[in-house]
């Protein structure tokens, strides 16, 4: 009675075919990247050692380690976060807790989308025009970090706004009914409930900031420096720019050294992202509403 007709059978094979085809496409998208990462590890891992991570480059960068670049990247990220995290959280609080749905809010959202979408080299030009020249910070850690901060601001804003909006409205209403002001409600009820989500956004921003190259090329990162930076008005080396330099600008580079630099950079970035993802999954497991 329920025997499959030929139409059923045809649909069924077709369905399996499509499923298989799409699965293959997914595999083809992921496989090359896995192979590439495998190659990076295969060629880069032998280079990495304690000395590689904690000493400076020697012999015109063809030997030695990456310590100044590693330290520089950490400095750039820290200063950038100091600027962008408070600003980004403030912006997200405004958008989630205060803004109503009008043209002004739409303009802010469009600006955020554009900050994220403007090419990184245009952010670099802005950094040169604004921070290096106009505010006279010169090419310095400060100028580079502020450029990075503005570029990655959308990451913090979007993540924070999402986690603020995930806090149920009933929580706020209960608090308001007790006579609390808006800010008391945000500080005592909304933010504590959203803090882990905000943290995932901050970690994502660390990852983005550490990997960017173009915005810091002309604003504060140097190809090579014999000394470590002393304050935020000094230039610094950076891991991402160092990878560019050792793979394109230095003749007589041993083949494996750039692979080592690439491996350190990508490990740093992927570690941060994995941390953020793990935190998010933990949060989802814990959530009770």
């Amino acid at each position: 009675m329920f025997e499959a007709t030929r139409l059923n059978q045809r649909n069924d094979t077709r369905q399996k075919l499509f499923r298989f085809g799409l699965g293959t496409m997914t595999g083809l998208l992921i496989l090359p990247v896995v192979l590439i990462l495998g190659t990076l590890i295969y060629k880069g891992a032998p280079v990495i050692s304690f000395e590689f991570l904690f000493t400076g480059p020697t012999k015109g960068m063809t030997a030695g380690g990456i310590f100044p670049a590693l330290l520089g990247t950490i400095l750039l990220v820290v200063v950038a976060l100091l600027a962008s995290v408070p600003l980004g959280i403030a912006a997200a609080i405004y958008l989630s807790e205060y803004a109503s749905d009008n043209w002004f809010t739409r303009a802010i959202n469009l600006a955020i989308i554009n900050l994220a979408g403007v090419p990184s080299i245009v952010h670099a030009l802005f950094g040169v025009g604004a921070f290096v020249i106009f505010f006279q910070f010169g090419t310095s850690i400060l100028a580079a970090s502020l450029t990075l901060a503005i570029m990655t601001l959308p990451v913090v804003i979007v993540a924070t706004r999402e986690s603020l909006q995930a806090v149920p409205m009933a929580f706020r209403e209960a608090c308001w009914n007790m006579g609390a002001t808006r800010w008391q409600t945000i500080r005592r009820v909304v933010l504590p409930n959203a803090i882990t989500g905000i943290l995932t956004g901050v970690i994502l921003e660390v990852s983005r900031t550490a990997g960017e190259t173009a915005p810091i090329m002309f604003t504060g990162a140097a190809f090579f420096l014999p000394l470590l930076p002393q304050d935020v008005f000094d230039q610094t080396m950076a891991l991402s720019l160092h990878l560019f330099v050792v793979s394109t600008q230095v003749p007589g580079m041993p083949e494996n050294l750039p692979f080592g630099v690439a491996l350190v950079l990508i490990s740093m970035v992927l570690l941060m992202n994995s941390l953020s993802i793990a935190l998010r999954m933990y949060l989802r497991g814990k959530k009770k509403w």
Partner: protein, 312 residues
Amino acid sequence: METKTSAKVPAGIDASFDQLNRDWYIDKVVQVLVFIGGISAIVFIIGIFVFISKEGYGFLVGEFNFKEFFFSPNWRPTSESKETFGILALIAGTASVTGLAMLVAIPFSLGTAIFIAEFSSGKTREFLKITVELLAAIPSVVWGFIGLAIMNPIIIQTFNVPVGLNVLNAGIILGLMAAPIMTSIAEDALKAVPDRYREAAEAMGATRWQVIYKVVLPAAKNGLLGAVLLGVGRGFGETMAVLMATGHSINIPTSVFDSVRALTATIAAELGETAAGSPHYQALFTIGIFLFVITFIINLVADLVVRGVRKG
């Protein structure tokens, strides 16, 4: 005793009024502070436009010649005899690489998005989503290095060509780079289609594929278009990867094995060598203005397209 307690009461009331006043002031101050945070994004976008225009202004009112700038393939900013500032070849470089990247990225990212959203569930789905997210996080300078150190020899060997840094290399690299982001946006768009649409179609006896093809895809059309547009914007603005993988030589490409040079890469490669305020320096900022305007338009259109889906 009694007078003391009765004296205490008004004092207490006074104190709580002070407290309320203070809370009210703090509330107002915070409101102003977060508002400043809110408008900062607009201030920065305007700031970007103002500052790159300020640096490029001298060229725009001086040497700038609309016809030469957009229609001459000769980018010779440092020529001794006669400097020419034509960005046609650079536009062709950017367009060819972005075009090839989209040929790679669009089918793969849409296919993967459909597979993740409609055909997988549970652990597989979670695994694929995390993988895609991690792929999207790989920094562009690492992609450039991959083009340089891994793709380059592979292309030379496979196609027996002298140089492996060309449109093909950069296009594939850029495609792999853009695909994860396009995949997650497209997957969001597919997930935004309400389940009752699918259930209604399945109740009519449609197969999974028929449901996707006839119901889900048309309903998610705008979101998918938005994903493609954002991918184009991303390819257009990518800097380090195209700087390292295109070969960086000025060319209007006739085949995928030609080396080209992109708009973004030109700024990245030359800004460090120019004197601030020189025509060459200002011309690079003018390219920046052009890039800013184009990406602004792409983002605006993508936003309008995606917003259209929410209203409908």
